[in-house]
Symmetry: C3
Subunit: 128 residues, 3 copies
Amino acid sequence: MKIRGGPLVGPGGGVLPLSLAVEVDGLVFVSGQLSLVDGRVEGDIALQTERTFDAIAAILSGAGLSLDHVIKATIWLTDPADFAAFNTVYGARLSAPYPARSCVISQLVLPNARVEIEVVASRDHRRT
Amino acid sequence: MKIRGGPLVGPGGGVLPLSLAVEVDGLVFVSGQLSLVDGRVEGDIALQTERTFDAIAAILSGAGLSLDHVIKATIWLTDPADFAAFNTVYGARLSAPYPARSCVISQLVLPNARVEIEVVASRDHRRT
Amino acid sequence: MKIRGGPLVGPGGGVLPLSLAVEVDGLVFVSGQLSLVDGRVEGDIALQTERTFDAIAAILSGAGLSLDHVIKATIWLTDPADFAAFNTVYGARLSAPYPARSCVISQLVLPNARVEIEVVASRDHRRT
């Protein structure tokens, strides 16, 4: 088992009891990421999606992996009206063949957040 | 790694950047499915659940698997009043011993959708 | 494959078509748990989180595992105002290094429920 990052200090100063990623037997479970910069969430869905992918890519890079190793994503959007713009950025940051994914509408924990993405990556396989 | 299906054309004509299923080391991650027929979602919870299972079964069949290989399901319903009718169909389409599962209430991306189901299946094990 | 528990009798007397946990190749998928006592959900977020962990720990114990084997958690809260109090209990019931996790806001199926937690545990690895 390899564990990366955390516990984190949350936006309100409280400790968030989580690790950024936990790897077991070649599967890397990455904690749900959102567009958090300097303790705040700002921007429209396109910007938030870009920053969320930046966060995921940084965690995977720390594990010696890239977005090409993502096999599954779970996506929470706060507004179904964001779906098209979200897909444009999502489809550009990842490349085909794409991961399996589910996408539903939920309120998020942090104010102003419009998207949260959780991924599972594979250490030993790339989507090619 | 084996990847099946996708990218898909969504109901509005846009491309959905996802694969239907991604398999790594004997675990098959199937994208969240819902009752989509001819680009539209219609019907009550019973019909939608049946069609959602049809979609999942078709994806698994394409991988040489069946619903008996499902080990975990995540279920999103839009209305808690649908829970009982949903369980009736769910319990009939799957057989005991059942997969592990979680079921919560969320709005879904597509209009009229009342249920979305994501599953993880095992290539090498059946629930028997 | 090892399957534990279920089908269950739900609060309304109906059968819930699920197993408490399904294990495949060293990964233990535990069904989403909540604070259910004598068929009812009661109490504030702190009490409900404690009881939810009691339920998860009991399922893991039945599999010869403990909360130290949890590698990933998915958390649904019904109210973002519960986040801080939830984290206090969550951080106390688990120990660092923590599992990866995602936490979003959703309505839950059972009346009065304020938290549901799903975990994946590893048979062969502890978070130490």
